[in-house]
């Protein structure tokens, strides 16, 4: 009884946080499934790839890689570059994922942008098991994504309704999460650096190549400012 309650309480606490992702992932997942469908792949591909890769942007790129000539080295290099941001998530979650037992393996496996963002910022209510809360956030998000991708793969071109602009739900969610972080942090130096350095790199390197330089710049400047930021001396 109490065992069941523990799971149900955590699931109930986690679900509301995942509603925007339900909208976003169902839509984006379906887009991905349809894209694979019209590229000539059966629904098994989007279904199994969304289960095992579970990194949205990489799965879209994977379609092109699968359509091209066989080149595993290039595929690996692309994957590492596109997903390098996960390294940052891992470093930020080292403490939070500590002590979650076996669930930790799944938490790390399923650490996409959205699950990371929620697990990093959500205030887990009193009496709710933190590990279980984060587990359900991750699991629900992956469920939405896999269902969307599979449906897109099966129904493919049958779907006709005007969803133009629905993908903005993800942008809106990241803006809200950025704002939540902004409202609770004492110094805004890191947030401002993240926005500013990324924007500068985007202008300098263009949309397809700016992520790695932006991450390097953020890492470099944050390390340079270590002494200042650790003291909490500046409150911008």
């Amino acid at each position: 009884m109490s065992q069941n309650n523990k799971y149900l309480t955590a699931l109930k606490a986690a679900f509301p946080y995942t509603i925007p992702i339900f909208a976003g992932f169902t839509f984006l997942g379906m887009t991905y499934g349809i894209y694979m469908n019209v590229s000539g792949f059966s629904f098994w591909y989007p279904m199994l790839m969304s289960m095992t890769i579970f990194a949205g942007s990489m799965e879209f790129v994977a379609v092109n890689l699968l359509l091209g000539a066989f080149n595993p080295v290039q595929a690996l290099a692309m994957t590492l570059m596109l997903n390098a941001r996960h390294l940052f998530y891992g470093i930020a979650m080292l403490d939070k994922y500590r002590g979650t037992g076996l669930k930790k393996i799944y938490l790390i496996f399923g650490m996409c942008d959205e699950s990371f963002s929620i697990n990093c910022t959500a205030q887990v209510p009193e009496g709710v098991d933190k590990g279980l809360f984060m587990f359900f956030v991750t699991l629900l998000n992956q469920l939405y994504w896999v269902c969307g991708a599979t449906m897109g793969g099966i129904f493919g071109s049958l779907i006709h309704f005007n969803t133009e602009g629905l993908d903005f739900v993800m942008t809106a969610m990241f803006v809200v999460i950025f704002l939540e972080q902004w409202l609770k942090e004492e110094s805004h130096v890191s947030s401002l650096l993240g926005l500013g350095l990324s924007a500068l790199c985007l202008i300098a390197f263009g949309p397809d190549q700016f992520m790695i330089p932006a991450m390097a710049a953020i890492l470099g400047v944050l390390l340079l400012l270590k002494k200042v930021l650790e003291k909490g001396g500046v409150a911008i």
């Binding site: 996960h86 891992g90 500590r98 963002s117 133009e164 993800m170 809106a172 950025f178 947030s191 993240g194």
Partner: protein, 108 residues
């Protein structure tokens, strides 16, 4: 590509993705003390990462052609205002998304 080559390609992508997710946890296991610099980065990175993610979402917006990024700018302003006003995550996200959809479907 043959089926085997396809499976190999997907396996490589899975492996690469997992490497980026597991590496920090393998390098700094729970049992050992984490280096001070890494611990510091873990505490200051979230703010910067969310800034990076916002820019990442907007990377394909062109300021000089098409709608000049106006639908995005207006909708983000609405998200921020709604959120500062009610601080209801779902309301802010739904409001901003609905606004964006109306703008790109009917106005721009």
């Amino acid at each position: 590509m043959t089926l085997t080559q396809r499976i190999l390609t997907i396996a490589v992508i899975v492996l690469g993705t997992m490497l980026t997710r597991f590496l920090p946890f393998l390098l700094f296991p729970a049992g050992k003390p984490t280096p001070k610099a890494v611990h510091y980065l873990g505490s200051v990175l979230p703010g910067a990462v969310f800034g990076l993610l916002v820019v990442y979402c907007l990377k394909n917006v062109s300021l000089f052609t098409g709608s000049h990024g106006l639908p995005e700018l207006i909708s983000i302003a609405l998200v921020v205002l709604l959120h500062l006003w009610k601080r209801q995550m779902l309301l802010s996200i739904a409001g901003g998304t609905a606004c964006y959809m109306l703008l790109v479907q009917f106005v721009f």
